[in-house]
Subunit: 589 residues, 2 copies
Amino acid sequence: MPAVVLKQRAAFDTKAASCQSGRNDGRNVSSRSPARLVQRALPLSVPGRFMTRRRVHSWRSAMVVLALAAVPAAPCVAQKAPQHVASSVSAADAKDAASLRAVAQRYRASHEAAILHDFSGLLAIPNVAADRANIRRNANLIATMLEQRGVSARLLELGDASPAVYGEIAVPGAKHTVILYAHYDGQPVVAAQWATPPWTPTLRSKSLADGGTVIPFPTDRGAHVSGDARIYARSAGDDKASIVAMLAALDALRSAGRAASINIKFLFEGEEEAASPHLLQILEKYRALLSGDVLLLCDGPEHQSGKQQLLFGVRGVTGLELTVFGPTRALHSGHYGNWAPNAGAMMANLIASMRDDDGHIRIAGFYADVLPVTSAERKAIASVPPIDSALRRSLGLARTEANNAPLAERLMTPALNVRGISFGAVGEHAANVISTEAHASFDFRLVPAETPDHVRELVNAHIRSQGYFVTSDSVTIQMRLAHAKIARVEWATGGYPANRTPMDSPVARALIDVMRDSTGHPPIVLPTMGASAPSYMFTQALKVPVIIVPIANYDDNQHAANENLRLQNLWDGIDMYTELMGRLGKVAW
Amino acid sequence: MPAVVLKQRAAFDTKAASCQSGRNDGRNVSSRSPARLVQRALPLSVPGRFMTRRRVHSWRSAMVVLALAAVPAAPCVAQKAPQHVASSVSAADAKDAASLRAVAQRYRASHEAAILHDFSGLLAIPNVAADRANIRRNANLIATMLEQRGVSARLLELGDASPAVYGEIAVPGAKHTVILYAHYDGQPVVAAQWATPPWTPTLRSKSLADGGTVIPFPTDRGAHVSGDARIYARSAGDDKASIVAMLAALDALRSAGRAASINIKFLFEGEEEAASPHLLQILEKYRALLSGDVLLLCDGPEHQSGKQQLLFGVRGVTGLELTVFGPTRALHSGHYGNWAPNAGAMMANLIASMRDDDGHIRIAGFYADVLPVTSAERKAIASVPPIDSALRRSLGLARTEANNAPLAERLMTPALNVRGISFGAVGEHAANVISTEAHASFDFRLVPAETPDHVRELVNAHIRSQGYFVTSDSVTIQMRLAHAKIARVEWATGGYPANRTPMDSPVARALIDVMRDSTGHPPIVLPTMGASAPSYMFTQALKVPVIIVPIANYDDNQHAANENLRLQNLWDGIDMYTELMGRLGKVAW
């Protein structure tokens, strides 16, 4: 909850909240209620423990075949939407929404242990994209989990690329097909930085930062775990939570004998954190299979206010590994200090030439491609609940870049992030030597009209302008003797551009309605998220609009050590997917 | 040998060599002759294996008691000293020098296996100053090795500081007392960077860089090992080689029934690589015991030309660990990139503000204390054999700092060396996060009139001038919320100033004579070495001039991974110490 997350709940009230659609069911019920903290010392659950043979069979026989009626809804009109505005939904609509919410909450409340079991079983399999054997184990388990729920599943193969997992639910009479995308791979880890091992899912009473202690996973059916508890593991927030929440939503619908209101196509990628090097080819190869009306990109965190948000764009990304070179062997810093080139100092000077402390990119031409922010985007950004001050406080920051410019505004511009610098050694390992080479790692976040190729050209040209010979090859002794300064640039394969979808399309309005029905609040709507996803590929290959529907807590340490998911976000995510699957087809678009 | 080391022997011939003293024995005999490479696969020697009980006893009864006659020598006059200048030494002098050289070479040629055994036994004991238990094991072994040679030895204790090892040889009739200083501790290691473990002494046929392969230590008495072979271990070059060479020189003298010509006081420190935090107190506490006429600081490498050098000064040193801070938890670089401060970029900008790629220090006032180079110093520097071009080639450098200014000239100025930078992760471990803090490690090399205290003030003031709140305390959340930019500075304890001794004193001239007698060449004489040693402490506490007498190969990777000693340097060092002990008291000073 926001109060827990930021300790500044007052700042997040919806005084300034906006909704791109005018519908509101008039209720202000949060699904977030604290549940009893399970304190019994039970053994950690193990994969497969809850999925009894009987349950699998009953699921297999429960193919969703119920017909459904599409209920026309009132048209959505963009307007300011105070929180308690009178509802414009029909009585039948409101009843259906409430019914679905009750279905989700009832199912979840009595299956927390089973859901956490499924989640931890999936999290226990290492999932760095480069670890091909384990990536395939993940894919196989997810396919099995889909099939256990009566979803026809298969792996989408492309040569020796990691497979995408595909699942399909065809609903007789459904008018729309929604593709639900998530990814099952995770960022690389530095295991030593983790409080508990990244692929040993660990439950804590609350966040580590707030002093959370390890608690056992529940094993009793019906056991409750506090929504403030968190599960720690790589991909707990990014992005296996989305997959598990969707599967639990299917279970919730089934438990009430309800059908989905839309045809659903699940698409779970295994290389997203490696910049999706094969996704476009997979989409093109399976274009017919993957046809649909909209793709919901189920990834990323909730808004920092703790509210559900819908995002209509992503930033693009490209990555760079940079090496600069000093002497071929490490030298004593006394005998050779201020004679031998110091690659660490050279790297510092080079990075300093690329960006300042305020995030301003000094590379010539870097901002030339950036499109101006539209007035609609500016309006959306301006109406977001103010979170910057509280966020700064929660992160121990007296000031953020560009003189405290708001986060949502900053995300409309490109970023040059230093991910890492490595040279010699520091602290107790520091020795008085001039080391041989310095390494730095960067990611560039791009906005519409910038392309990775052009960014690479600009950066390479900038490094040359600093007196460097730039190569992407191995550095030979001949190169060293020919060039005073050498930079090896290794650009990541698979970088991609930004992508944005209009915020006022019929499907966008329908989705905003359903979201509000799920949470009782209008969602926050923003033109872009700061993070990247291969959104452009869907637009290019499948010709579908892409809308981002995140569920993870904003403080989930995604990509970093001690990644985690706050359980209330999982519970809310299940509610949201249940509502979405059960009702999106009933709202006109 | 130089040709092996730099592959540019021609560049190092002594055309431009100078000698501060005009004596030359007229011979040009190098003691460096290739020895047969031992190729038999013998087991690695173990400590204690060669030191039989009988040998220990015979040594203990062989206290050096021979009287000696001081032979007056011609006065030394500073002049250009071409290599083959006619000798000005007396016939008796020349005969004595030749005799001692023969003694050393004969002893060494028939005891290589035993010398290497002693050396590897000492190198096998870990010796990082912070590792107190092993430091004491080193000290105890060295004291035992001294006593085995009839030297009265003890440990000089000071509270719980690591002990210095003291040994004394009193020679009846000797006019002068020479303190021979070395250190037995070594720099910290990053074991993963070593080809073989740092405390598993390993013999290789030649240098790793030249493709040297592991060869067995010899076990047969009389076995020969090529002078190009190298022993790899922490402190092989810096500075246990000096200790072992001195002990072997004692053995060589004894083998010929020769006495030392001087009273000798051995002083072996155990905290030099930790910046000698207790040495001054130890010297003051044992001032009476440590009285003498000159201190020879036996540390550092030979000149890059492969020639013996005498150095009359050292640079001072102080160390800094610097941390700058970003958010209290790592953030997704997409969601927060160009909003959250990036500590890696901040560190790069801070380092860039401190020095440029050419080693020029940008910190205000940093050069204000630096004394101008004297004309005598300038003359000495100008007469050094030109080595820069060949050194650059051997290190794969097309250019060195300050537009290829000569090394010897650069060492007359202060240096700001970046030892390490650590932020986030690079390469396969790089993740798309904005990490929480960036670390950098520096050493500053100081020249006369600069003090560590003043340097600290200047650097702290500079960091403040870059907008940082500077603290040496733990960084609290209150600090974080009060200051936009925070730098934690942790200055090393025990930094010390530079020190220089006049190059034209009687003892300097005597030493130059003896050195020339040992090698057949005038030594290279320089006002300072680039590295640091606690030389000022000897001057301050013992009121003795300090002259530096290095023996290690210049490419010994000292302070870095794969530190090594080229065996010919050990053999030459034994020759030099034999000559020095046997003859320094016979030359007038």
